[in-house]
Symmetry: C3
Subunit: 165 residues, 3 copies
């Protein structure tokens, strides 16, 4: 009986730790990318992880780090910006996980900030026990919420925890 109760507690706690590890990764993305910390951003991804942002398909950590170091991104952070992500909604499937959040990009224009993007980010992650965060992004798909249907489907898929092909 004690054994069963201990095992149940361990499993419940593990679930929460898994979810929290992923929530923390998502919460870290904005601060890290706005800091221009290319290596720490890239470390959120698996070695061969994908970051698919509309017309920019990044494959692997080097591509992700290169995005942070690109003149486009450097222009954002030297102008003044925040990539603001909502709390992640996480679903664990054993050693895989799905998460979703919404985000906005605020960019400084004189004395105020313009919301130049509002989007959805869908994440497929896998457990990587020896990695920095215990989990790594296998694929992140980010789309502008521009009124079309595909980004809305990502929101539904994300909350439902569906692993996309």
């Amino acid at each position: 009986m004690t054994e069963q109760r201990l095992a149940a507690l361990e499993a419940r706690l593990q679930r929460i730790e898994d979810e929290r590890a992923i929530e923390r990764m998502i919460a870290s993305y904005g601060p890290l990318v706005d800091a221009g910390d290319a290596d720490s951003v890239a470390a959120l991804w698996a070695d061969d992880g994908v970051y698919d942002v509309e017309n920019w398909l990044m494959k692997g950590r080097n591509d992700v780090a290169a995005m942070v170091r690109s003149s486009g991104h450097q222009d954002f952070i030297t102008t003044g910006c925040t990539h603001f992500l909502s709390p992640g909604v996480v679903t664990i499937h054993g050693d895989d996980a799905v998460a979703v959040c919404e985000s906005t990009l605020l960019l400084r224009r004189g004395t105020t900030y313009d919301a130049v993007r509002a989007g959805v980010s869908y994440f497929h992650l896998s457990r990587a026990a020896d990695s920095l965060h215990g989990w790594q992004i296998v694929k992140r798909i980010t789309r502008l919420l521009d009124g079309t249907e595909d980004p809305r489907a990502l929101l539904s898929d994300g909350v439902a925890g569906r692993i996309l092909p």
Copy 2:
């Protein structure tokens, strides 16, 4: 002694699971309503749950689903929008709970997004063990932060965990 420690762990873990279930419901609201997923939004409420938004009083899940399907809301999501909610602050009182968050609604206008709303959402929830999320919204009150005093009182009541009549 082992019995006492197990019981204490179980109670502490249950508390966290309860709070997290509600935090996740609140974090899911924006993605689900921006997806236009009327049934999943409605399932956050109790059968007879109330959603009180300024001059629109919804009673029951059908009313909530009808709001998502309304032309007003459909116009928002086909224009491009995000209902962006801050992390919920949750207080559990046995089988009742109170939560509060702030929110903004970003709506696409050409190449940028306007913040057309900024508001407070106060939630009273009740435990519903057999339901999808384990908890259901009994009443949600959403008010524009327009400079008047009533919405500010909702913020205070929410953080303090006061159950409103």
Copy 3:
């Protein structure tokens, strides 16, 4: 063996409770300051805690409460505003902790809200078992993300959990 498993569970759970207490404090800040609840805002800080916001250095709870009661802040909340903070990224070091988030301040202008600030908040907290939240802010540094390098360094320091001098 049972003893070891119980002790491990207790330590893991304590860690999560610590992190969550701080996450909740950060999530409460926006609602409390937008409510104008000066005493509850001040109670997030240690007696001699510091709040360093660009050219305004507050020392101690009285200073923090005075900021909330200042005409500048009262103008914000009677105009209509939300101090919107992203989920905190928390790192516990025994009885100290570091947290970081990004934030924006939306201020009502007619029928929409302007983002008049976008910033980083770095927190150093210490455990205060007898206090309201179990933790208190020793120092909070808030800086505008204005394109300069110092605020970006705060973001990196915060995510890495570095305690600043």
